[in-house]
Point group: none
Chain length 197, copies 4
DNA sequence: CCCTAATCGAGACGGTACGTCATGTCTTACA
DNA sequence: TGTAAGACATGACGTACCGTCTCGATTAGGG
């Protein structure tokens, strides 16, 4: 759903007409992220357009909804943050480290936790957005975690990833327990056991 | 958040005036459930009121939003469905059975999966509803699962429940893999390993 | 197109539900008239709703456009202004008096001339409004003028009215000459001649 | 407001650069006229540009609005149609003939009546266009009619023209009666009487 | 025969108003 | 007092059109 940066590329469909404004794109992404982080509830397409100094139509020309903007902004500003795992140490420990560092990004007061929760929620109501959400955010992060696992059959490794991210999302969404180190270790232990079974 | 059936007992706050119509309550719950199952996107408070042959105010007098109605309807029609676990057999097997039977309720084409996803999504946006959602649906099911586990320390058992339900919700929400028997077994195996660690 | 005051009457289709708010109706009419008189160009449905302290939907529930509001407001505030003609004196003089007094209502700086021009213009683009415009404003005024004429065949009298009002509207719309006493007398003379021919 | 054909003569402000495309000008005028005659309501600058195979800027470089285009197209295609009056016969008859032939151009189903009504309407809302409208269409036709009148004082002749054209526009704009021969004769009779008074 | 400059088709841009939708509250008359 | 009906204030939505701007490509004289 989010559009790629207007690098046009070889698939660019036409070369005539005014080019898409990269300035406007960046302004929109920045405005959306700032407003959404401050107060998602009052963030509207209008408010984003106004703060970005942009016409509403310019937003709707490139994004189908404010959620797509926020997703794209999140990806752009945080793409580098996918934690690189360490190669050394026992499996359970490596998983626990990865998980704990991911937890840390969700827990802080100014973290993106609320945004991710809201996007996950929106994906439940909008199938088109769900595809973008899964393909651009969920699956890449799954792949990063999968690469940490050398052992086990494929389906076990998939289940291990589900177990780890599932445990994370569940506490993030239900808020009945903390996303702390101890939890990370327990999940990692269980995942490692699954892979060795 | 959902109100109890009107036979509220001696705590009923008023004794005068026209009594709450149980008929209307049932009509509203039934209408909400039917509309929501057919097409959640077009289900509005107005549409529920119209189909139930009821004034909108009658709805707002007793429920704060359509989501509370759906939650109450779901609880009322499905309360009995919380799977009773078997007491015999090895732990992993008992967990797998519980999980698989829960999966079965979510997978079918006319199942409540979509509704539960939508309610989980709404809970992310509405703190008041989140409380009801957690207290009336999430936590009771956690307790049912907890009771299946005899071994392990408390925190490990909590984590095991998170792992199991987390794995379930994750696949339910992201739809990247099936909620099938094999998955149930893998999650159960991991949970059992965690409890024995 | 404009709705009658909510006197319901015997044709009222139902008696249930909240009654239409006469207060809101009056507020909307007053707001529309004031804004339109000050600056028609910046008068929008939103601005009327805001100034009247009313929701936009309340406007669209009862009027199809701001033009219908203005027309209704004009009729309500000016209905009494249809000049009653004198019965005495020669025909040409009576017509000239009527015309001159009508001119006077259109010429002043705070007159309704600009509004009437705008409504006449809008009627050219909107057939539904054109019907209301003709039936509620144009034709009643024609009838008032017709009643001043005792002599002549019917078709001559119609043509005489067209001549008088046509001459008036033409100068109002094209602004190539003044709507003054001299012009009123010339038109009245011609009309009287037509009736006696 | 409409621009003259591009052979601007020695007053052209520049001598270098690409010349204005007469082809584009003709395409625009033709496209505007065709679209406007078919359905004025959906005729936008974009639609004209698209149908003419022209960029929007090419339109705005030479015309201030779609209305100016339509006016220019109308003048170009119909300039020759200003009825030449006959010099012989009694005044009332000459006027009636002129008027009837003008009526004929407005009455047909594919006539320019709707366009003229729309332009008159637009002139009420746009002072700049009103000037072009009056100077290029209204006043020339007034002059043509004035020249038919030999008798009478100047102000009477002006009023007679107003009476004739006013009667015409009034029926055109309000559509409460036909623009037929009988009406033309009545107006002509009244105008002649005015001139002889 | 190139240089300079205005025009061309195309289409993205900032902006304004529109008319619709859903929410949650309120006011009726009736039971 | 509860109820069905339905009007109300609010506020976001997504669309339409406006008139301006910026592309690269053309197309003229003037040097």
């Amino acid at each position: 759903m989010p559009t790629p940066p207007p690098s046009a590329g070889p698939a660019g469909r036409s070369r005539t007409g005014r080019a898409r404004s990269e300035q406007a794109r960046q302004d929109i992404l920045a405005a959306a992220l700032e407003l959404a982080r401050r107060d998602l509830g009052t963030t509207t397409v209008d408010s984003i357009a106004h703060r970005a100094g942009v016409g509403k139509q310019t937003i709707y020309r490139w994004w189908p909804s404010k959620w797509a903007i926020i997703l794209e902004a999140l990806l752009e500003h945080a793409e580098r943050d996918i934690t690189a795992g360490t190669d050394s140490g026992p499996l359970a420990e490596r998983l626990a480290t990865f998980l704990a560092s991911t937890f840390a990004q969700l827990a802080g007061p100014d973290s993106d936790g609320p945004l991710l929760r809201a996007l996950m929620a929106h994906a439940q109501q909008n199938p088109a957005f769900a595809v973008a959400w899964r393909d651009l955010l969920i699956l890449p992060r799954r792949r990063a975690l999968l690469e940490l696992m050398s052992e086990g059959r494929n389906e076990d490794r998939e289940a291990a990833v589900d177990l780890l991210f599932g445990g994370m999302w569940y506490r993030l969404l239900v808020e009945h327990g903390p996303l702390d180190h101890a939890y990370a270790h327990r999940l990692a232990t269980a995942a490692a056991a699954l892979l060795k079974a």
